[in-house]
Symmetry: C2
Subunit: 325 residues, 2 copies
Amino acid sequence: MKQLAAAHQLVTAVLKGDRRAIARAITLAENGTRETRKTVSLLYPHTGKAQIIGITGPGGVGKSTLVEKLVKELRKRGKTVGVVAVDPTSPFSGGAFLGDRIRMQDLSTDAGVFIRSMATRNNPGGLARATKDAVHILDASGKDVIIVETAGAGQSEVDVIKIAQTIIVILAPGFGDEIQAIKAGIMEIGDIFVVNKADRENADRAVIDIQAMLELSNDEGKWRPAIIKTTATTGEGTAQLLKEIEKHKDHLAKGEAELRQKNIVETELTEAIKQKFTEHLMGELRKSGRMEELVSRVLARDIDPVGAAEELFTEQTGKSGSKAE
Amino acid sequence: MKQLAAAHQLVTAVLKGDRRAIARAITLAENGTRETRKTVSLLYPHTGKAQIIGITGPGGVGKSTLVEKLVKELRKRGKTVGVVAVDPTSPFSGGAFLGDRIRMQDLSTDAGVFIRSMATRNNPGGLARATKDAVHILDASGKDVIIVETAGAGQSEVDVIKIAQTIIVILAPGFGDEIQAIKAGIMEIGDIFVVNKADRENADRAVIDIQAMLELSNDEGKWRPAIIKTTATTGEGTAQLLKEIEKHKDHLAKGEAELRQKNIVETELTEAIKQKFTEHLMGELRKSGRMEELVSRVLARDIDPVGAAEELFTEQTGKSGSKAE
């Protein structure tokens, strides 16, 4: 009862945009306790108003500097901004150079900006969950724009960034190998591509490379991702990037927004269901000693792992474990 | 019946080390059909003999060149080798420069070497599953050593590489940001660290950086990861790396090997169980229209995604959906 009252109090404070309450709510989300769930479920009806922008790309391309410049540009236009960084190389997460971290500090004294880096944990599912909760909390708190920053092209990063309405993939000249990596992972999900460090000589080459890749996957009538050149250190190109973000938002408003929102919700719901059910199932299997027994049989090579899973499935559901062709 | 006979025939050919049969079995694994499961389950009792080495690291550090040199070194010692590349930047997967790909070709004409790149698919769970199956197939086919190459520090890559008995993390000088990224993801899982491109001036700096990070997580009595400098383009350091791999193998043989194998099996089994049960659950929820209904309620913000998952869980199991503190 007391806990519930505390949750309500916290929720009221978050809805008012209280910084300390927001920080506390996100910490609860990171811990993933029962109190968290109550808080997020009370906040959820108040979400859906913020514009959510995702920024991703390999380490070293200048993502964080660009985020910083974007935040400043948005502030100039009177928008309040939330930043959630799940990037281990980000100065927000304490990963990068001291200089970057100092630069970020003048942003964090601005009451219209809330910056939070998510702790990297051993449980990647937990981090993804907590990051999405942080976005919901900032959304409910009334921030106009929320920027989610992730690094790398790994599947978990891609899953997290998919919560955004507009996804920006940032690269730098000379990152040929990285572009190759991205091809496989985040190329398809980029709504806008940025070639940062555009003052370098081979910037145009990078633009052409990206263009060539996009040509291949271009569909008529669909949004055609723009490629913007920026120099984050000087801020050049940031205003143009913001313009392109607005253009993408307008494009979505013409009809795609609903489908996109449905996909975002469906993905988040699917993950939540999977996590809930498998967490319970694995707990039961461990408690009953059934897991230990199956591990022994696989270790003895009496059965292969997938075969063991299918046997267990048939046993518990009475249904055939094999996928029919 | 006919299908079963075909599976048996394929299995017999794989066990003899027949190249075309191995290739066909891995293609089946990529497709993830019922036939695959039969094939892998028949092969599984014949696995467990190969030494499995995992190689991971960011794009551009020279992973593939190092793999190539390692294979040649192993061949000199009379070992047969299988290579499974799940690295989008790898020349094996067709991602990298033409020059690399040509260099690899003289390996693929060697009957003692089997190289396979796994197709990147939209379903990362499927790719991880197929990669593990490919390792089992090569193991059963009698290859002495199997090298699994992955790129990046994403969670799915880490999950795949964990099938290896010895994990090598490869970096290059000047990859400071990458090292930061790795800190969060694969630093803890590396048994051996390689600083490639050791002919570059700041190679020693990279070694010191890695050392500093390892100090922090050093446990008494445990294996202490070595840091090896290599120049993959000339082959320098490869022999030393191989020596270190053997040293690690000997270390495992002193007692840790069993625990490690148990962890590998447990991880693979857990993934297989989760996939089997959630695949079925999600299928049912879609078929019954329950998923659609839940998505609508979340879209209307009547309920949050995790709340919806908990409601569903209580409904189906009669148990409380909330995690007690």
